[in-house]
C-alpha cells in the first residue's frame, strides 16, 4: 500500500460525455483532483506535466488505443513510474493478464457505476505494493 493517500488522477478518454461523468464522479464523490486528457497522442506530455498518483486509460481510442499508450508510457522515463488502471468494455481475460504482467495495476470494466468508481479506484490504489 502506498504511503500517500490517492489524490491526483489523470484520465485519458476520447468520449466527452464519459469524461464529464468521470470528472463529476471522481471530484464530487471521491474528492480527487482530476485531469482529463482527450487526445491520447498528447497523453505522455500531459501526464508528465500533471504528475498524477494514478493514470486511468480508456481501452479503445481513435489514434492510439490504451494498451499502445500504456506501452509507450512504460518506455518513456517521464511516465514509466505512474501506476495505470484500464477502463475497458471489451478486453479479454488474456489481454488483461498480459497488461498486468507489464505492470498495469488493474482494470475496471465499462460500463462502470459512477457511484462506485472512487471506491474501486481506492481499492486498486491500496493493492499497489
Amino acid at each position: 500500500m502506498p504511503e500517500r493517500v490517492l489524490n491526483k488522477i489523470c484520465y485519458v478518454e476520447d468520449d466527452e460525455d464519459i469524461q464529464r461523468i468521470v470528472r463529476m464522479s471522481l471530484e464530487r464523490i471521491g474528492g480527487f483532483t482530476v485531469r482529463i486528457v482527450g487526445d491520447p497522442m498528447q497523453a505522455i506530455d500531459a501526464i508528465s506535466d500533471f504528475q498524477p498518483d494514478l493514470v486511468m486509460l480508456d481501452w479503445m481510442m481513435p489514434g492510439m488505443d490504451g494498451p499502445t499508450l500504456f506501452k509507450k508510457m512504460k518506455e518513456d522515463d517521464k511516465t514509466s513510474k505512474f501506476p495505470v488502471v484500464f477502463i475497458t468494455a471489451k478486453a479479454s481475460q488474456r489481454e488483461l493478464d498480459e497488461l498486468r504482467a507489464l505492470g498495469a495495476v488493474g482494470a475496471i470494466s465499462k460500463p462502470f457505476a459512477p457511484r462506485d468508481l472512487p471506491g474501486q479506484l481506492k481499492e486498486l490504489w491500496n493493492s499497489i505494493p
Binding site: 463529476m24 468494455a89 465499462k110 460500463p111 462502470f112 457505476a113
Partner: protein, 602 residues
C-alpha cells in the same frame, strides 16, 4: 453292399477315404459282389454248354441195353440246366433280394449238382460201353472239367466242388475196372484235378487283382469327381466373392466421387493416385493432369514444411489425423485454407498401402468467424459506451451528489436508470450466449470458498430483492468447502438464481439459501416460495430465451437467458445445475461443483 450305395455318401466335406477297418470290410463286400456278378454272368455259357454237350452225349451213348439209364441221366442234366437257368433269371430280374453269400451258396449247389451229373455219366457209362465210346466219354468229361474253369473262374472253391463232383465218381469207376491202364489213368486224374484247381485258384487271384484294380479305379474316379465338385463349388464362391469386392469397390468409388468434400488418394510416398470431382473443382486441376505428382504441389510454400512433418509423422505412426489446417494453393495461385482428415490405409500385416486425405475449403468459414468475432466485439464496445454515459449520468443524479431533486423527477430518473441497467444486462447476456455458442467463453478459475461467494452474492443482490419486498436468508452456517470456480462467473450464476427467486416469490417472503457438502461435491441451493415451475415449462427452462410467461418478463424484467448461461457456466466449471419442487410449495434451484479437498489443492 452294392457300389451305388457307396456313391450316395458323396459329399464335399467328407474325407476321401474312410477309416482303414471300415474300408477293408467295404472292400471285401465289394469284391464278393463283383465275384458273384462275374460268376452269374458266365452262367449262361455253362448252361448252354452243359445242355448241348448233354444232348450230344445222350445221342452218342444211346444204347438199347441202357437207354432207360441214359434217358434218366439226360433228364437229370436237363433238370440241372433248367434249375441253373432259373437261378440265373431270378437273379437277373432281381426278383429275389438276397445276400451275395447266399447267391454264391446256391451257385455252389448248382455247380455240385452239375459236376455230379457228369461224374455219374462217367461212373455209370464208362465201364459198360465200347472202346470208342469210352474215348468219347473221356474227352467229354475232360472237356467239361476244363470248360468249368472258365465258367467258375470267379470262385476257385465252386470250381473245385464242381470238378470234384465229376472227377471223384469217374476216378472211382476207372479204378474199379481192374484194368491196369485204367488204374494208371485213375491215378493221373486226381493229379490233373489238382492242376486244374490250381489253375482256377491262380485265375481267381488274377480276377481278384482285376476286381481290386477296378474298385480302386472306381474309387479314384469318385474321389476325383468329388474333388472336382469341391473345386467347382470353390470357384463359384470365389466368383461371388470377387463380385462382392467389385461391388463394394464401386460403392466406395461412388462415395468418393459424389462426396461434397475433396478426396485425394495418395501412395506411400505422398504422390497423388486419384482425386475426386470436388478436389478437381477445389484445386483447378483435372484428375489426369495431377495424378502421379507429389501432393505437396497443392500445399502453399509457407505451409509445406508443416505438411511434410505431418506426413512423416503419419507414415511413422500410421495414426490418422483429423482437423489439421493447411494453407493450400490453387492452380491459379490463390491461397485456400483447408481442413483435412488424413487416414492411412493399412493392411492386416500393418503395411501402409495408401493414404486417403479428405478436406474442405474453410477459408470463407474462417473469414466469417473472424468477422463475427470482430462484429461482436465492436457491438459490445459501441453499445456499452453510450450506456456508460446514460447509466452513469442517471446514477450520479440519483445518488444525490448533484443536489436534491424533485421527488417526481427522481422517480423518473430511477426508472430510466433501472431500464438502462436492464438493457445492459441484456447486452451482456447476449454476448455471453454468443461466446458460449462459439466456444469462446473464457473462465479464470481458482480455488475459492463457495460459501463466501454465496454470501457476497446475497449482499450484492439484496438491493434488487428489496424492490420486490423479498429478503435473503442463509439456512444455517455455510461450510468452508472449496471448489475450483471463476469468481466473477460464480457471482453471475448466483445473481441469476437469487434474482429469479426474488422476482417470483411473493412480497414479504424470504428466499432461503443453503450450502452443503456431500460425496465430494459442494451443493448450493436457492429455495423460494413462489408458485412453482409450470409443467409445460420444466423441460425447456434451461433453454435460451425461456420464459414461462411473456407478460411476466415485462413485469419482472429479465432476459430469459440467465438460466441458459448459468447452466453452461456451471458445466464449464465441471458441475451440474437443476431444480426440484419444494415441500410446502415453491421451487429449489441448485447447482453443485466438485469439492477441492486439501489433498487435491494445487
Amino acid at each position: 453292399m452294392s457300389q451305388s450305395s457307396v456313391s450316395t455318401t458323396t459329399a464335399p466335406a467328407v474325407p476321401i477315404t474312410g477309416s482303414k477297418s471300415d474300408s477293408d470290410t467295404q472292400d471285401r463286400d465289394l469284391l464278393v459282389a463283383d465275384r458273384v456278378e462275374q460268376l452269374y454272368s458266365q452262367l449262361p455259357v455253362g448252361i448252354l454248354g452243359s445242355g448241348a454237350v448233354g444232348l450230344l452225349a445222350t445221342y452218342e451213348l444211346w444204347d438199347k441195353r441202357l437207354n432207360e439209364l441214359v434217358l434218366w441221366w439226360w433228364g437229370s442234366i436237363l433238370l440241372i440246366t433248367i434249375v441253373s437257368a432259373g437261378l440265373y433269371f431270378v437273379r437277373r430280374r432281381s426278383a429275389l433280394k438276397s445276400a451275395d453269400s447266399d447267391w454264391l451258396r446256391w451257385l455252389g449247389m448248382s455247380a455240385l449238382a452239375s459236376g455230379a451229373a457228369w461224374g455219374y455219366a462217367g461212373a455209370m457209362f464208362f465201364p459198360q460201353h465200347t472202346d470208342e465210346q469210352q474215348i468219347f466219354l473221356a474227352f467229354v468229361l475232360t472237356g467239361m472239367v476244363s470248360a468249368g474253369i472258365s465258367v467258375y473262374a470267379g470262385s476257385w472253391r465252386i470250381y473245385a466242388i464242381y470238378a470234384a463232383g465229376t472227377v471223384v465218381p469217374f476216378t472211382y469207376a476207372l479204378a474199379s475196372t481192374g484194368n491196369r491202364l485204367f488204374l494208371e489213368i485213375a491215378l493221373l486224374v486226381p493229379f490233373y484235378y489238382a492242376i486244374n484247381v490250381a489253375v482256377a485258384y491262380r485265375l481267381n487271384q488274377v480276377f481278384d487283382t482285376g476286381f481290386r484294380l477296378r474298385l480302386d479305379y472306381g474309387r479314384l474316379t469318385q474321389d476325383y469327381s468329388r474333388l472336382n465338385q469341391r473345386l467347382e463349388t470353390q470357384l463359384v464362391e470365389l466368383e461371388e466373392a470377387r463380385r462382392q469386392v467389385e461391388a463394394s469397390g464401386r460403392k466406395l468409388a461412388l462415395f468418393a466421387e459424389r462426396a461434397p468434400i475433396s478426396v485425394i488418394e495418395l501412395d506411400v510416398e505422398g504422390n497423388i493416385i486419384q482425386i475426386n470431382r470436388m478436389a478437381e473443382l477445389l484445386f483447378g486441376y483435372i484428375a489426369t493432369e495431377i495424378e502421379g505428382r507429389h501432393s505437396s504441389l497443392l500445399v502453399h510454400d509457407a505451409a509445406r514444411q508443416s505438411y511434410l512433418e505431418t506426413w512423416q509423422r503419419l507414415v511413422a505412426t500410421l495414426k490418422p489425423v483429423s482437423g489439421v489446417k493447411f494453407t493450400n494453393v490453387r492452380r491459379d495461385g490463390v491461397e485456400l485454407i483447408c481442413e483435412w482428415a488424413i487416414t492411412p490405409l493399412v493392411n492386416t500385416d500393418g503395411k501402409l498401402l495408401a493414404v486417403i486425405a479428405q478436406g474442405q475449403d474453410i477459408t470463407r468459414q474462417l473469414e466469417a468467424e473472424r468477422m463475427k468475432t470482430e462484429f461482436t466485439s465492436t457491438l459490445s464496445h459501441e453499445l456499452r459506451t453510450p450506456l456508460t454515459s446514460i447509466i452513469g449520468s442517471l446514477q450520479l443524479i440519483n445518488s444525490g451528489v448533484m443536489g436534491a431533486i424533485d421527488k417526481d423527477v427522481e422517480e423518473l430518473t430511477s426508472i430510466a436508470e433501472r431500464n438502462g441497467q436492464r438493457l445492459l444486462d441484456l447486452i451482456n447476456d447476449i454476448l455471453d450466449i454468443e461466446k458460449i455458442a462459439s466456444g469462446k467463453l473464457e473462465l479464470t478459475t481458482e480455488v475459492c470458498v463457495v460459501g463466501d461467494l454465496v454470501s457476497e452474492a446475497m449482499v450484492l443482490n439484496q438491493a434488487f430483492a428489496l424492490r420486490f419486498q423479498v429478503s435473503f436468508r442463509a439456512l444455517g452456517e455455510f461450510p468452508q468447502a472449496r471448489a475450483r470456480a471463476d469468481k466473477k462467473r460464480m457471482l453471475q450464476i448466483m445473481t441469476n438464481l437469487l434474482s429469479n427467486a426474488a422476482k417470483f416469490s411473493g412480497p414479504e417472503s424470504a428466499v432461503e439459501v443453503s450450502v452443503s457438502v456431500a460425496d465430494g461435491r459442494v451443493l448450493v441451493s436457492v429455495h423460494d416460495r413462489g408458485e412453482g415451475i409450470p409443467e409445460n415449462f420444466r423441460n425447456r427452462i434451461f433453454s435460451r430465451f425461456a420464459q414461462a410467461d411473456s407478460t411476466m418478463s415485462r413485469q419482472q424484467g429479465g432476459t430469459g437467458l440467465g438460466l441458459a448461461i448459468s447452466k453452461r457456466l456451471v458445466e464449464l466449471m465441471g458441475g451440474r445445475i437443476g431444480f426440484h419442487d419444494r415441500v410446502g410449495g415453491g421451487t429449489t434451484f441448485w447447482f453443485e461443483l466438485p469439492e477441492v479437498s486439501d489433498k487435491h489443492q494445487e
